[in-house]
């Protein structure tokens, strides 16, 4: 059981998965001939190599003891990802400042310590910095708050 959770075994599985995905979505691409290769030739070749390498890595991991995967801490990766997604959704619809406030708030929640006053200070400093650098400095075409500036 423990060997199924080793870093090497799981990476082997990951490579096999990528190979299968490439084969599945590349199934309609023309292979062509070795002289005139179609768009599918190299993708198929790479997919099979991925499957073979993934298989070797996984099998070798089962035969030899390897390093275990550390139990991931879910909070930082979830908060950071959710923060970026929220930023992407808010940036064009609501503007830079709302997107920034949400991103900083969510990302700060992902850390170990959270002090609201510090986070608010951080938001203010970064808002000013972003306006100066991106809006005034680089003259980027972005709205600070949608409909206002």
């Amino acid at each position: 059981m423990s060997r199924l959770l080793s870093k090497d075994f799981l990476s082997g599985v990951m490579f096999i998965a990528f190979g299968l995905v490439a084969l599945y979505f590349g199934r309609n691409l023309q292979m062509g001939t070795t002289v005139r290769m179609g768009p599918g030739y190299v993708p198929h070749m790479l997919a099979y190599i991925m499957l073979a390498l993934g298989g070797i890595i996984a099998v070798m991991a089962l035969l030899t003891p390897g390093e275990q995967v550390e139990t991931p801490k879910w909070k930082p990766i979830t908060m950071v990802t959710v923060g970026i997604v929220c930023f992407a959704l808010l940036f064009e619809t609501a503007g830079l400042i709302p997107a920034l406030v949400v991103l900083i708030l969510i990302a700060s929640l992902g850390g170990e310590e959270f002090k609201l006053t510090e986070v608010i200070m951080n938001m203010i400093v970064l808002s000013i910095l972003c306006i100066v650098v991106f809006k005034l400095g680089l003259q980027m075409n972005i709205s600070i708050i949608r409909g206002v500036w």
Binding site: G26, G38, V80, T81, L103
Partner: protein, 500 residues
């Protein structure tokens, strides 16, 4: 005469006000991130890629190069004063640098490392100038098959020198090549792996992937760790004693030589240079017992080596278009964003960019010595900024940068996706650098492969019949066989253990 002419051309470009300014900005940013642990040059350059889109090509590359070698300087400062390596390449500097600082020789260690780095940087730049032209001329004789083999050699060598499992690193290279295929096939116009998303028909953009894999994943990993900071040691006099100078300069010379050689190798670079230089000094020293207790040579040699290697690692990228490490892969990405195809043509078609960038490296190195020594106090103060302020700020710049690539939030989403992918890679012990190299070289390699097969009428023997290609393939095979030998495997594992 040609050399002199090229150098004057380069200096003319590099000394323009705009380019000087960007070199300065690059050096300052580089030093800053070098000082701050938890954010390295790869992540920073990845995050700044979109911004370079708004700059002229020469200025953009000068700034990015400045970040790279600036980080080498900055990293050593924190190694010496707080025993915290800002960069992987200055890990060894901690060993003796911090001990020197504890004995009250902090100033001497800092100035020796700065002057040694400057000397090494100068030598590195001269080496680039000397070797750039012959190498470029050689590369222009390459046919498609030769190029394909050269890229294979570059990729394999990068794998050999990456830490961790060789097999996994090779698989990462292929995964990178696979991701490089996404988009419209140039020869037939067929859509490959685009999932009917119009944004993907031009291929996956390089910058969001690099930002996600290196920037976001690095932030998340750092957020998981609890970071503690110790107080910095006060710097008194910057002057080394006569004895220290006498012991340091031969070490600087040896470090520079070793670093310059290791920097050129694919997969080499500052970190490898620094470690090897330290090991060499320890081996040949008459007083090996002093190492780890504050030996001057233990600071001088690795510091010179990492800077020399940082410079010479530009050689394969500038002349052949083959990046030798992750930072160089990002530089290739920056050139492609600017519409420049890296390779031997850059020197002939864009001499001002080529020589301007090289000249700016030397100017940048001089700037670093001048700005760094007096500003050490300020840099050390920056260390007290807690990571919980930095992490959201870095994230924010990533997001805005990704958006600004094409004014589309699709790229921001890509950053989020590749952040998760990068995190999985880290957790599974898969290196990001081979993936990035595969991704950068993928489209070109397929192109050369298909062209070579077309020219040879589908005969794969073409790769063996052309002497250049054959030589490169033999070198690749030798590398792979060497890796499989048990004794070398063991030595390699030990070397990387020391590093980790």
């Amino acid at each position: 005469m040609d050399l002199l002419h090229n150098l004057t051309l380069g200096l003319g470009v590099a000394l323009s006000f705009q380019n000087l300014l960007y070199a300065l900005v690059g050096c300052m940013v580089g030093t800053l991130i070098g000082v701050l642990p938890g954010i390295g040059p790869v992540a920073t350059i990845a995050m700044l890629l979109p911004i370079t889109f708004h700059l002229p090509p020469t200025a953009a590359l000068i700034m990015l190069a400045g970040i790279y070698y600036g980080a080498q300087y900055g990293g050593s400062t924190t190694s010496i004063l707080v025993n915290l390596p800002g960069e992987a390449s200055s890990v060894v500097t901690c060993l003796d640098g911090y001990q020197m600082a504890r004995r009250g020789r902090a100033g001497a260690a800092l100035s020796i490392s700065a002057v040694g780095s400057f000397f090494a940087g100068t030598v590195g730049t001269i080496i680039i100038v000397i070797f750039a032209e012959p190498l470029t001329r050689m590369a222009q004789k390459f046919g498609p098959a030769d190029y394909c083999s050269l890229m294979a050699l570059g990729l394999v060598a990068a794998v050999v020198l990456a830490s961790g499992s060789v097999l996994k690193a090779i698989a990462m290279v292929f995964l990178g090549l696979l991701f490089g295929l996404v988009g419209t096939d140039v020869n037939t116009g067929a859509q490959r792996f685009t999932f009917d998303i119009p944004e993907l028909s031009d291929g996956i953009d390089f910058a969001p992937i690099a930002m996600g894999l290196f920037g976001i994943a690095e932030i998340v990993v750092n957020l998981e760790k609890h970071m503690t900071r110790s107080g910095a040691i006060k710097v008194t006099s910057l002057w080394p004693t006569r004895e220290e100078i006498r012991r340091a300069w031969p070490a600087v010379l040896r470090g520079t030589t070793l670093g310059s050689i290791l920097g050129v190798l694919p997969g080499g670079g500052p970190t490898l240079g620094a470690f090897s230089a330290y090991t060499l000094e320890k081996k040949i020293s008459k007083r090996p017992g002093e190492f780890g207790k504050g030996a001057v040579e233990g600071v001088a040699a690795p510091e010179a080596a990492n800077n020399a290697a940082a410079q010479t690692s530009f050689i394969p990228m500038l002349t052949l278009g083959i990046p030798s490490n992750a930072v160089m892969a990002l530089m290739v990405g920056a050139m492609i964003i600017q519409g420049i195809q890296p390779g031997p043509e850059v020197m002939t078609k864009k001499p001002d960019l080529f020589w301007g960038m090289i000249a700016s490296m030397w100017i940048g190195n001089a700037m670093l010595v001048i700005i760094n020594l007096p500003m050490i106090g300020i840099w050390v103060k920056l260390l007290t900024v807690p990571y919980r302020f930095l992490a959201p700020a870095i994230l924010l710049f990533c997001c805005i940068g990704a958006y600004s690539l094409q004014n589309s939030t699709f790229h921001v989403m890509q950053v989020a996706i590749f952040g998760v992918v990068g995190y999985i890679f880290v957790r599974l012990g898969c290196e990001g650098a081979p993936f990035l190299l595969g991704l950068v070289l993928g489209p070109q390699m397929e192109e050369y492969f298909r062209r070579a097969m077309l020219l040879s009428r589908g005969d794969p023997m073409v790769f063996i019949q052309r002497p250049i290609s054959l030589g490169l393939l033999i070198a690749t095979a030798v590398l792979l066989v060497l890796m499989a030998l048990p004794s070398i495997k063991k030595a390699r594992e030990e070397a990387f253990q020391e590093e980790g």
